[in-house]
């Protein structure tokens, strides 16, 4: 216990705690949008597409915080847009083309990273390491969270109308294509900003489970957003306090806790039927 209290007084622990709260809440908020947008599968494949971006960034510009961030962002955009392009220009549907391109890109990225001798880093990027977050990582996470909170609050009404009835939204003059691309860009921003904390594999859980849980608990889409933010933030903070004494990996603990809350919500929702 004394070890844990001493650890809590360290700047690195305080930074990690802040990161858990902010990234958990922001990704939770975003998860409501992802679930309502039915983009979970898309996010799953995109999250793995970050790896080749990291590999190419290291290969071209060396191991730096900004080069990694921009590499991940570029990879997510490139894979997302090229899958859309393949789907539009061929008989292959969007999900198939996204799966195809992401697995090829992932394989390429993995080989580059291994050839660069970065086996340990690969684990960090796949599963995250919140304790190794730098000040820049934290600033990026805070900025991404602020952008997410502001935009999702400001555009709550048009987003709800567009998600529920896109044709009526277009008839009212809403820029539906801009909403589609804009929300896609926001999702990529959330993915990239939480990469260091929970890794590309585990970020998928943080970006889907809180929203899916709230989908079981409420009949009102607008309640899903604050509810999912609360679940994401509180589970991440609780995981921080649990993982140290238990000696568990923090990212994995966050996802397990979220899955447990989802299971409880699932059982509750079944009881109500």
């Amino acid at each position: 216990m004394n070890d844990f209290l001493q650890f809590l007084s360290e700047p690195i622990a305080q930074r990690s705690l802040w990161a858990c709260a902010v990234i958990g809440a922001a990704d939770g908020l975003m998860s409501a949008l992802i679930v309502l947008r039915r983009s979970s599968l898309q996010i799953g494949t995109l999250s793995c597409a970050l790896l080749p971006g990291l590999a190419l960034a290291i290969l071209l510009f060396g191991l730096g915080e900004w080069s990694l961030l921009l590499g991940a962002l570029a990879a997510a955009l490139l894979v997302g847009l090229s899958s859309l392009f393949v789907a539009r220009c061929s008989a292959v549907d969007a999900d198939t083309s996204l799966s195809l391109i992401h697995s090829a890109a992932f394989a390429l990225g993995y080989l580059i990273l291994l050839s660069l001798g970065l086996q340990q880093k690969v684990d960090d990027w796949l599963f995250g390491n919140i304790l190794s977050m730098s000040n820049t990582d934290l600033c990026v996470a805070f900025a991404a969270a602020a952008i997410t909170f502001i935009l999702l609050t400001l555009f709550r009404r048009p987003l709800l109308l567009w998600l529920f009835d896109p044709i009526a939204a277009a008839a009212l003059g809403l820029p539906t294509r801009a909403l589609s691309y804009g929300t896609f860009a926001l999702i990529i921003l959330a993915l990239v900003s939480s990469l260091q904390a929970v890794g590309s594999f585990l970020s998928l859980g943080l970006l889907v489970i809180p929203g899916a849980t709230m989908r079981l608990l409420t009949r009102r889409a607008q309640l899903m957003f604050p509810g999912a933010a609360l679940i994401g933030g509180s589970c991440s903070v609780l995981a921080f306090f649990l993982s140290f004494p238990l000696g568990w990996h923090l990212g994995a603990t966050i996802i397990l806790l979220l899955a447990l809350v989802f299971l409880l919500a699932f059982l509750l929702s079944r009881r109500g039927k």
């Binding site: 400001l154 109308l161 009835d165």
Partner: protein, 248 residues
């Protein structure tokens, strides 16, 4: 609250309208011209591919005319989009979306509220009135997914009322409803026109006799061309209906 004072005054005028999906594409609509005022119900009739949904898309502002004009009280209709409420085909809606009946109706206030303004007492009163008109008050807290097809259509009509739109566009509103549901919705559409002073335009696949029960006017389309416009009683005796290529 009621728009009945607009009945017979506010006019929709369509002038030599042509539309196509993309530049250089075969026109999907050619030379449509008519005018009709608020307080009326108009059926869009014709076989599959006649241009009914295309015409509704143009009126809803989803497709730009390649030539011709659509005017609402002398103004281009696309410049007064809040005046138009579009109810797409049932298949175009995600019915499992987590939203209550009241939530659906409240979405109708979006054009008036914009991004930032909070809903006030007047907005609440308008939503309450719309729910009351469509007899949805007892169902207002229910998820939209738990309603019957007819009740869901009523929720969308209530949203149009809350929007205070004068032109209601409905794409095949009777599809998927049972016979009592069809009659109840037909009566509601007539009420929306006669008592609320709206202009109701709906694409239909029903027989001319059934169409005449609900609608007072009809626009018959065939291969994107206007074959008939006039009252439904005239439509029943129109030689255009006898043509097997345009029969509805």
């Amino acid at each position: 609250m009621s728009a009945s004072h607009h009945a017979g005054t506010h006019e929709l005028r369509v002038e030599n309208l042509c539309a196509a999906y993309g530049r250089g594409a075969e026109p999907a609509l050619r030379g449509i011209s008519f005018s009709i005022t608020c307080g009326h119900t108009m059926a869009l009739v014709g076989r599959n591919g006649a241009g009914k949904s295309t015409f509704l898309s143009v009126l809803a502002g989803l497709l730009r005319p390649s030539s011709g004009r659509v005017l609402w009280n002398g103004l281009p209709l696309h410049s007064v989009r809040h005046e138009v409420a579009y109810l797409p085909q049932r298949s175009g809606i995600d019915w499992s979306f987590p939203i209550t009946v009241r939530g659906v109706v409240e979405l109708g206030r979006f054009p008036s509220l914009g991004l930032l303004r909070a809903a006030g007492e007047e907005d609440e009163r308008i939503v309450q009135y719309a729910l009351e008109c469509m007899q949805l008050l007892p169902l207002q807290g229910r998820p939209i997914s738990q309603l019957s097809g007819g009740q869901q259509q009523r929720a969308f009509l209530a949203r149009a009322l809350a929007q205070q739109a004068h032109v209601l566009l409905l794409d095949e509103p009777f599809t998927g409803l049972d016979i009592p549901g069809v009659h109840a919705l037909g009566d509601l559409l007539k009420r929306m026109a006669r008592e609320e002073g709206r202009l109701v335009i709906a694409a239909c696949h029903d027989t001319p006799e059934e169409i005449a029960r609900v609608f007072d006017h009809a626009l018959l389309l065939g291969d994107g061309e206007q074959l008939f416009f006039g009252s439904c009683s005239q439509l029943l005796s129109s030689p255009a209906l006898a043509n097997p290529h345009v029969a509805v």
